[in-house]
Symmetry: C2
Subunit: 358 residues, 2 copies
């Protein structure tokens, strides 16, 4: 039943463990009979279990970028000091997802709707039952990982000591909903998508490429393209050369998104569109954010075109114990990939300062 997609393997993404948390009931009413979370850990859990850091993943992403660009000895996310747990979000292709669900009741197009709150509840259960972790020194995530970070801080205020949502909001904006729809419609409008019942992701390659093209204009920035910043980005395939921006778009952005599973992207996109901590407070955003007790740095990226600093600043102002720390990347939202040392240094400086607070 399950599709064999090379992108969703330890070979491609780096090592991880699949941890079952059993039958999992979803907020929208669906059920995942055996929810398996793909978990990558770094460092050692202290005896008092107070050195745990949780990192939830972003749309289309896995633990890989965190492992490669953000976590390391001497960094703010230092595995020699912290026990760092990266949990791949439900439906991302590594955790239980449409293409890898053994249970035919949730395979492919039958995969149920999952919400940000589901991920956060699943992660809380995982940390408690599997690792015995009751408090997190830090939750940090980018984009949809930021959505989950906000949700953690609102839903489990007693468990989150510090939080750092990077380039993402607590309540998704209408613009973001509409933007995400363009991404998803690029896929579903491909006749090869066949209502989610394709034989292989390559049947949907035209849709995946249109999806990637929209990312290129909204995920990246005019400056990224104008300055040919892509010339300094290592290719995904060794030896590949980029002579023109179209080479980079074809050989990097389209190539990357073309490796992914359409149903996984749709599952994550549906979830992203509906991220909203106000669901925890009868729709009252200020009330929801007012529950936060974590020490929080809200960290938008200056040139981000769909999670712009002004949207993040508006939420930060409603959040007690928070500060706005604007990051800078010529790549805009895709700055999250960590293309620039200066951006990574900014992240490290902020996370280091946040972790030093008591």
């Amino acid at each position: 039943m399950a599709l064999d997609i090379p992108f969703y393997t330890a070979e491609a993404q780096g090592p991880y463990d699949l941890v079952s948390i059993g039958r999992f009931e979803l907020e929208e009413g669906g059920v995942i009979p055996d929810l398996q979370l793909a978990v990558a850990t770094f460092g050692t859990l202290a005896e008092d279990k107070n050195n745990a850091i949780l990192i939830p993943t972003w749309f289309s992403g896995t633990h890989a970028t965190w492992a490669q660009a953000y976590i390391g000895p001497g960094r703010a996310l230092d595995p020699e000091r912290y026990f760092i747990v990266v949990v791949n979000q439900i439906g991302n292709g590594l955790s239980t997802s449409p293409h890898n669900a053994d249970d035919p009741s949730i395979a492919m197009s039958k995969f149920p709707h999952v919400r940000i709150g589901d991920d956060v509840r699943a992660q809380e259960q995982l940390l408690r039952e599997h690792f015995g972790i009751e408090r997190l020194a830090l939750v940090v995530g980018g984009s949809m990982g930021a959505q989950q970070t906000w949700e953690w801080a609102v839903r489990f205020p007693d468990k989150v000591v510090r939080a750092a949502p990077i380039a993402g909001t607590a309540q998704n904006t209408p613009h973001d909903f509409l933007f995400t729809r363009t991404l998803l419609d690029a896929i579903t409008s491909d006749p090869g998508f066949n209502g989610g019942e394709y034989a292989a992701p390559t049947d949907v390659i035209a849709g995946l490429h249109r999806h990637a093209d929209i990312w290129a204009t909204m995920g990246l920035t005019t400056d990224f393209w104008k300055t040919e910043f892509w010339r300094g980005i290592p290719p995904l395939v060794e030896g590949m050369q980029f002579e023109t921006y179209d080479d980079f778009q074809n050989g990097f952005v389209r190539l990357l998104f073309g490796l992914m599973d359409p149903n996984a992207l749709l599952t994550m996109g549906w979830k992203w569109q509906r991220g909203d901590v106000a669901r925890n407070a009868d729709g009252d955003l200020a009330a929801a954010l007012g529950r936060i007790t974590a020490r929080m740095f809200v960290m938008p990226i200056e040139q981000d075109m769909f999670f712009p600093p002004r949207d993040c600043a508006a939420e930060q102002k409603l959040t007690p114990g928070s500060e706005l720390r604007v990051l800078h990347s010529i790549a805009g939202h895709f700055g999250l990939f960590g293309f620039e040392q200066s951006y990574l240094d900014e992240v490290d400086a902020n996370l280091g300062e946040l972790l030093a607070t008591t």
Copy 2:
């Protein structure tokens, strides 16, 4: 042969004249056997013919918005002082276009590639031969109209006394090329498009709607949607009510673009992607802009997501006799529609000041 599309009529767009300038050879090698330009004029040409203002149109637009929102007694574009000529760009649905071409050699999918330079040459010929105008007191246009304005100032420096490109660049950026491609691919990927040989635009309505959805996220802004600015925008259809942002997207943005001709949008989009005054100077942008003698106000819109002020400012710096005048609209690029009195007042103040210079 020609398709009957109600959007491209004087009833929908307001009065205009069709003026033939005869056989027209295009820069890309194609020929329009009988190029007819749709021209709307306001005011009276002075005897010395020195009070003429030219306005070229933007992507998907016609003379209508200029007539309704920008031109009027007491305004900067005052028909009691100036003879204002709005020329609909080639392929926009009113001037000679794929759907209205009588000649089968250029009908529908056979319509030739047209460049910004073709429009400008055609307009120069029209003004000279039809109106006897040799000098323009002002060329002003928005978006693709700004591209044509820049091209005028570079190509015919002796004929342009003043110029005001609003929300558009002299040299299209890579980001803009990629963005425009997403707009065009949304249309061409619709099976109903049929390589441009559809029986009616409604065959391509799904593609036109995806096209409109991309506009909603890049043409408008996060603030526009977040503040529900759309509640104050008059509906296109009398009595239509917008309760939610999706109502507005469906009932305004999708409705508007759904009235248009797919091949017309593709003709304009191809042209937009390749706008570049540097073609007049062997690819040297600085040299091309250095030829400008017009007094020029370069007027980007602050929140514009694909013609951002920084891209316009970079060109302004290369342009002698120019100043940067940043406009402000919560609607971003679509501020061009003139939704806000404050934006229109800014435009009027700047154009008034520019027209007062000698």
